[in-house]
């Protein structure tokens, strides 16, 4: 969080992450180019570089798409999620390098505008052997450019998180067209079909992870919270919530997060105002609900970010009766303070 915008909110973890990322990318490129030149006597440095940049971008994109479901299945992957934007921008730069070198190598040597040359090359959509796979690459690159250009938090605030997320969901169609781009490009080259097989395996892995994580999430929303008197909803027993953690439930069309802390219970909307991250998967840090994605914080009783920050999320009225937690399904205005419910009204408060 920051009270004003910087290009990047650098911290030690981000320096280490970006250093490792740069070293991995450079190592991959070096290895790919060395192996390409060593194994194929006809390969040129330019061709090896173009293929290295393109394959590196696709590997990174595969990792990016796998990180989301992996973080949901195993919390040890959350640090990768935290830095996913850096992965995304690095992936775009690799893809841009691939496209730029390819256009220079194959389309810039004539007297026609290189992009016009790219678009007017012999196109036969009915035959995979001559299908203009470059068009798929161009379409994917345009989407990646839009995503990279709007990756800063300023765009989240300007577009609002739901619109921004919708825009960035275009990564899935981008992945589909880029897999098509690489598969067709690979099939149109002489040689063994190993790259295509690896590509199909990685796409199947991404699809399988996404489906499995989605199936697990759907199970959570299917757990019915029972409706009690006056329309209040019985969510769970207070004893089922770990100290400083939350229990989530689907209420009024969206998830709520019921937090237990210092002998009290508070309830907020589960949706972080930053990137709509799942607050209920976070924990209380320094007295604040802390989003697991990027560390945005909210006071549990009011849903307000601590000053000088201005983010606010809706809160819910909450009661604890005989150890059971009840929530009023009507959300309060974002930032509305609600008196926390005491777990043991007569007993002492416990500090975290």
């Amino acid at each position: 969080m920051s009270a004003f915008y910087r290009a990047v909110n650098w911290n030690r973890q981000k320096y280490i992450f970006d250093g490792l990322l740069a070293a991995t990318v450079l190592g991959y490129l070096g290895l790919f180019i060395s192996l390409s030149l060593g194994q194929d006597s006809n390969a040129t440095l330019e061709t090896a570089l173009i293929r290295g940049l393109g394959s590196g971008a696709l590997v990174l994109l595969t990792v990016i798409l796998a990180v989301g479901p992996l973080a949901r299945l195993d919390r040890r992957f959350v640090p990768l999620l935290y830095n996913r934007r850096h992965l995304g921008v690095a992936m775009f730069l690799l893809a841009l390098g691939h496209a730029s070198f390819a256009v220079i190598q194959f389309h810039a040597l004539g007297d026609v505008n290189p992009v016009v040359s790219l678009l007017t090359g012999g196109a036969d959509f009915h035959d995979p052997a001559t299908f203009p796979f470059e068009w798929l690459g161009l379409a994917g690159l345009v989407i990646l450019a839009l995503m990279a250009a709007t990756s800063h938090d300023f765009w989240l605030a300007t577009l609002t998180a739901p619109v921004w997320k919708g825009l960035h969901m275009l990564v899935y169609p981008a992945y589909v067209v880029l897999v098509g781009h690489v598969a067709l490009g690979s099939l149109q080259q002489p040689g063994p079909p190993l790259p295509t097989l690896l590509l199909i395996a990685s796409a199947a892995l991404v699809l399988g992870l996404q489906l499995f994580a989605g199936w697990r999430e759907r199970g959570l929303d299917r757990q019915q919270a029972s409706v009690a008197a006056e329309g209040w909803i019985a969510v769970c027993d207070a004893s089922e919530i770990r100290e400083g953690r939350a229990r989530m439930a689907l209420v009024s069309g969206e998830r709520i997060a019921v937090f237990r802390y210092e002998g009290r219970i508070s309830c907020v909307s589960n949706v972080c105002q930053h990137q709509n991250g799942p607050l209920g998967e976070g924990k209380i840090v320094d007295g604040c609900i802390t989003c697991p994605w990027h560390g945005y914080q909210y006071l549990p009783d009011s849903g307000q970010s601590p000053p000088p920050f201005t983010e606010k999320i809706p809160t819910f009225n909450v009661r604890v009766i005989e150890g059971r937690v009840y929530v009023d399904p009507r959300p309060n205005l974002p930032g509305t303070r609600v008196e926390p419910a005491l777990i043991n009204p007569g007993g002492p408060r416990r500090s975290a």
Binding site: N113, V115, W155, P162, E254
Partner: protein, 83 residues
């Protein structure tokens, strides 16, 4: 794609981006301060970083500048829509 259509496509796209860049530079260094109080104190690298996005999305931003918006819009979620 015919060469004529491809040429028009390239010229129109280039024109859109050129207009966008012409808008994005003053937007990043001056106009953005009116739309978002948090951006008003933004650093210079931040302003450089938003130029590509402003170049692509300039019609949306221009509309907000002309409407004299002073705050970013509020997001819509199920819980916020009920209120």
């Amino acid at each position: 794609m015919t060469p004529l259509f491809a040429s028009w496509f390239v010229w129109l796209t280039g024109g859109y981006l050129l207009l966008g860049l012409g808008f994005a530079i003053p937007f990043a260094f001056r106009l953005v301060n009116r739309l978002d109080p948090v951006a008003a104190h933004g650093t210079r690298p931040f302003r450089l970083l938003i130029i590509p996005g402003a170049t692509l999305l300039w019609p949306l931003l221009l509309r907000r500048v002309l409407r004299r918006d002073t705050m970013p819009p509020t997001e819509r979620t199920a819980h916020r829509n009920i209120q």
